[in-house]
Amino acid sequence: MLNIVDISKTFNPGTINEKTALSHVSLHLRPGDFASIIGSNGAGKSTLLNAIAGSFYVDNGSIALDGKDITFTPDHRRSRVIGRLFQDPLRGTAPSMTIEENLALAYLRSAEGKAPFSRITKKDKEFFAEKLKLLGMGLEDRMRQPVGLLSGGQRQALTLLMATLVTPKLLLLDEHTAALDPGTAEKVLELTRAIVAENQITCLMVTHNMRQALELGNRTLMMADGNIVLDVSGQERAGMTVDDLLRRFKAGTGKDLDNDRILLSD
């Protein structure tokens, strides 16, 4: 589904702030893969997601999604097939617009919802309400309220719904539960699991929760210094504990995993 071949990215080249964020990264995700990424601070986890989403163009290498080369496709085009959630629940929604209007914007990614001068129809609203019900937060009764009135958890759940309203080929999750309180985080994660499973979305998730990285999905990747240093799946991953993972990380990089926010367990 996703095929990344040998991509690199250096920020501020030729200056004192030069930083190689990605160095010859290759990654292949099969359709339906759900991979989680863990790694040290500054290992390039978010940069990798940004590269895939098109926040910047990579210096070399290529990115293909579903057989189509998207290396030079601008981010707003890629977003037709790539859904994305950030850590900050405020980044995915427009606060002064209503829930309904936000969903209508997300629906622009579909073929039906694109005509520029068409308005939100009654059918659209029913469709949105039906989807909102699945979140179990009562948002379907508040569709005409501005999103700015919602809590962080509600906004993140809404963003998740918006990112998957038109089923994407790839869903990028960048620590999307990290800024939420534990109860809400659990709920959003549960929704993520359900939506991803139901639509069989290929998914790439950055997390700082080691347990999550091992339990969720079918693959665990570890990054260090702009590289993927560990990629486990299948049998090998099934029996793994957090300690095993840390040991493998040290064996692979010669360093301890250094992330001040990492959760070894909860």
Binding site: H76, S79, R91, M97, E101, L105, A106, R109, G113, I120
Partner: protein, 308 residues
């Protein structure tokens, strides 16, 4: 009594006509969150195109032509800031500077143009209505009609999917990109529409006053902002519909204040601009001032407690 009626009538006429500028700023400044300084030159552009075409015998065609010219000016500003990386305020100033020459050329290489003994949209309406009954109010019907129509169309436009993505652009650009829409496109459409509205205002004012001067747009942007702020203070800005009503109300209130100052001479009329500039600066600075005052209060309270 007659004088007051006449003053009110003029204030209403001008209030509606200039409300279009405030409506344009509502779109660019409030909704898109772009400070568009094309406004001053664009207003004159609309007036110049309108007066020149009316002089050539096409007063009705002059109105859409002026709007088209305004949209082009908006496009240039938008192009500079979205595609060429020019900071948005500077982009407006650059276009505005260039427009000075364009306006000069549009008026036939002259710094002013007037309409003598030719039809305007106002005289055309006067000729078809019964002036014995409605007197001079036909001007208000036309000015109000155009502005209200523009307001309704803007309201409808902002409810379309394209309108929604323009609104989201000022709110959260990341989200616009995530919805597969290029913010450069929405900013461009937004600025074209807002400058078309500004030029429409110039076009109506030009034919109403039957004259246009190359400097008649100076400070229009600040006056427009004043109208926007007055309207929002009176009516609030909770929804798009209310926001559009607010700019019309604000513009009319501003013209009444202007007329009141003009006739009572409570402030010398030359000083009105300074007064308006101060009011607008204070209104926009209000949140920051409030915060500073609050902090100072807390600091003083803490100081007093500590001294005990």
């Amino acid at each position: 009594m007659g004088a007051i009626l006449l003053i009110s009538q003029t204030a209403l006429d001008l209030g509606f006509q200039y409300a279009l500028v405030a409506m344009a700023l509502f779109l660019s400044y409030r909704i898109l969150d772009v400070a568009d300084l094309t406004t001053d030159g664009c207003f004159v552009l609309g007036a110049a195109v309108s007066v020149t075409m009316a002089a050539a015998g096409h007063p009705i065609l002059a109105i859409p032509a002026a709007m088209l010219a305004g949209a082009c000016a908006g496009f240039v500003t938008a192009f500079l800031q979205t595609r060429m990386g020019v900071p948005s305020i500077l982009a407006g100033i650059i276009t505005n500077t260039g427009l000075y020459t364009v306006n000069f050329l549009a008026m036939g290489r002259s710094s002013s143009a007037s309409l003598l003994r030719v039809d305007t949209v106002f005289t055309m309406l006067r000729d078809v209505v019964d002036t014995d009954i409605i007197g001079d109010w036909y001007k208000l019907i036309l000015s109000g009609g155009i502005t209200i129509l523009a307001g309704v169309l803007l309201y409808l436009f902002l409810g379309t999917r394209l309108g929604l993505s323009i609104r989201a652009t000022g709110d959260n650009r990341d989200m616009v990109r995530a919805s597969s829409v290029n913010p450069a496109y929405t900013v461009t459409v937004g600025l074209c529409v807002s400058n078309a509205l500004t030029a429409l205002s110039g076009a109506v004012v030009g034919q109403y006053q039957k004259t246009v001067d190359i400097n008649s747009g100076t400070g229009i942007v600040v006056i427009g902002l004043a109208c926007l702020i007055i309207g929002e203070t009176v009516l609030g800005r909770r929804s798009i519909g209310r926001g559009i009503l607010a700019v019309m109300a604000g513009s009319i209130i501003y013209r009444f204040i202007y007329a009141w100052v003009f006739y009572t001479k409570i402030v010398p009329i030359e000083c009105l601009r300074l007064f308006i500039a101060i009011v607008v600066a204070l209104a926009i600075a209000a949140p920051t001032i409030k915060e500073g005052v609050g902090l100072e209060k807390r600091r003083l309270t803490a100081l007093r407690k500590g001294g005990r």
